[in-house]
């Protein structure tokens, strides 16, 4: 415990770093994923902006990236990181990888959620003379808002999880802290306090997500 207290400033910094990594990844990855998900949904043959070539390309791209284990994905991204953000280590490198990883995961969740929207309401909007792009944003997304929020909550939890894993490759944040100041020094108090902190963050995020989704679904 004493050792943990003596490292308290570093612990606080680690929490800050985790929020930085998770925050940017969820927001940027979330937006990028929303865009990819909308493209997947809308260009699917027979849908609003049916476009087979675009659908096939994006679909295959997502299928290639999704199954890669995150730590390996980070390593594989190193040349890209060097070329774009100029580093392959640290919080920014992890954030870069997480943003892309989250985007591909979000794209599938968005696609699956939107597919469940009743085709009848889309037909009603078409019959009212609405344009496909307008239907996408004024009908399809609002109708799916509850499940979309739950999807983002799921991604938030996954990103917190992955950001901790990234600690193993020196990414900074709570995972890094638990390894460096905890397990490597056989200080299990530090490990458990860090784990408890991660659990609290995840619980808070899940609670907020459930709350917002319930409001969107009016249940």
């Amino acid at each position: 415990m004493d050792e943990f207290l003596s490292n308290l400033p570093i612990f606080r910094e680690a929490i800050g770093t985790t929020f930085y990594i998770v925050g940017i990844s969820v927001v940027l990855g979330g937006l990028l994923g929303l865009l990819l998900g909308l493209v997947l949904y809308a260009t699917r043959p027979g849908n609003l902006l049916s476009n087979r070539p675009v659908f096939i390309v994006v679909n295959i791209l997502v299928n290639i990236v999704r199954p890669i284990p995150f730590v390996i994905f980070l390593l594989a991204l190193q040349p890209v990181m060097l070329a774009t953000i100029g580093t392959t280590i640290g919080a920014d490198a992890v954030t870069f990888g997480l943003t892309l990883g989250a985007a591909f995961a979000v794209s599938r969740i968005i696609e699956q959620t939107l597919i469940a929207v009743d085709p009848g309401v889309i037909e009603a909007a078409r019959a009212a003379g609405a344009r496909p792009l307008s239907i996408l944003f004024t009908v399809v997304l609002p109708e799916a808002l509850g499940p979309v929020i739950l999807g983002y909550t799921f991604i938030f939890v996954a990103v917190v999880d992955m950001s901790a894993q990234a600690g193993l490759v020196g990414g900074g944040g709570l995972g890094d802290f638990a390894v460096t100041y905890g397990s490597q020094r056989y200080n299990w108090t530090v490990v458990y306090i860090t784990v408890a902190t991660i659990i609290v963050i995840v619980q808070a995020g899940q609670f907020l997500g459930n709350f917002l989704a319930r409001r969107a679904l009016r249940r």
């Binding site: 009848g120 019959a127 609405a130």
Partner: protein, 339 residues
């Protein structure tokens, strides 16, 4: 004046991996006059849903022309079709309301699409909700309403852009009989008070009987017959139309009922079609024939009688023959039921 015209329209769908072809519509021609209520009746799979979706361009025919007013829908680009759609309202079997919007928001949606400003939108939404009797529910959400109320919102939404044509896709099929009557009464008002032409599709004869002026009977993608509602159903020329009448009126004995009647009634069994004034009783009496009513049903179609009655006739054989000959001579349809 013609409002909607279909000229030799066919629609073939290609389904599945094997590319098997399904003919949904087969050389359909049809004219709907301005201001009338035109019903299309058919069993499921007869091609009705495809037909109604051709009119606002939600489906495209494989061959043939679809005209609405002066616009040839089939010749318009998607962009120009959208402009025409604002003059065509549509309501659906499952209502298809936006769950993410309030009742007022649902009705306002077509107006937003059409670029109507907020003040005018609010005015029209209030007027429409008042017309369908749901002004007090403006701020509720669709799931708080009953089925009949949802369809009334659907009707208000369909009328938002003040269309001259309303398409009703099985609009009452998800509703109970009492609510069906309310919604049909509302459609009647839409037609009479607002002068909106209505094209409706249904599988229920009752719907046609209640609101339609003219009807087309569909069977396997073709129009079996079409004409004024009374003419088509009082004297059906096609088997499908006759089936619909029999199912709705239950006026003719089924083979099972007939077999039982034959066992219990030894006299001659005849079924007489009832249309206008028949003078049946007088004719039987005049020939010394006793007529016992054993089965039948008479209903009303556009304020005129339609149905049939099955009698057991007893008395002198030549008297019965003479009475039946007299009825037939008067244009009355008589069916002998003794095998």
């Amino acid at each position: 004046m013609t409002h909607v015209r279909l000229k030799n329209v066919s629609k073939t769908f290609t389904r599945g991996r094997d590319g098997s072809r399904v003919v949904a519509l087969d050389d359909v021609s049809l004219e709907v006059a301005k201001g009338e209520v035109f019903g299309v009746i058919g069993h499921s799979g007869a091609g009705k849903s495809t037909l109604i979706r051709l009119i606002n361009g939600l489906e495209t025919p494989t061959t043939g022309e679809v005209w609405v007013g002066d616009h040839e829908i089939t010749a318009l680009a998607e962009k120009d079709q959208r402009a025409v759609r604002r003059d065509i309202g549509m309501i659906f079997q499952q209502f298809n309301l936006f769950r993410s919007r309030t009742i007022a928001g649902n009705v306002a949606y077509p107006l937003k699409v059409a670029g109507v400003d907020r003040a005018e939108r609010d005015r029209r939404v209030a007027r429409l909700l008042d017309f369908v009797g749901l002004l007090d529910r403006a701020h509720d959400h669709p799931e708080q309403l009953s089925g009949g109320q949802k369809q009334r919102v659907g009707i208000a939404r369909a009328l938002a852009t003040e269309p001259s044509l309303l398409l009703a896709d099985e609009a009452t099929s998800a509703l109970d009989p009492k609510t069906t009557a309310e919604v049909l009464a509302l459609l009647g008002r839409v037609n009479k008070e607002l002068g909106v032409t209505i094209l409706l599709i249904t599988h229920e004869l009752d719907v046609i009987r209640t609101v339609a002026d003219r009807v087309a009977v569909m069977d396997s993608g073709r129009i079996a017959e079409a004409g004024p509602v009374y003419d088509v159903f009082a004297n059906p020329a096609s088997d499908v139309a006759a089936d619909f009448v029999r199912d709705a009126l239950r006026d003719r004995p089924s083979p099972e009922v007939l077999a039982r009647l034959r066992r219990t009634h030894p006299g001659r069994l005849v079924t007489v079609a009832v249309r206008a004034r028949t003078g049946l009783a007088k004719t039987f009496f005049a020939h010394g024939v006793t007529a016992d009513l054993v089965f039948g049903g008479i209903s009303e179609l556009q304020e005129r009688a339609v149905g049939s009655l099955t009698f057991e006739l007893t008395g002198p054989a030549d008297g019965i023959d003479a009475a039946l000959a007299e009825l037939r001579a008067g244009g009355i349809d008589v069916t002998e039921e003794n095998d």
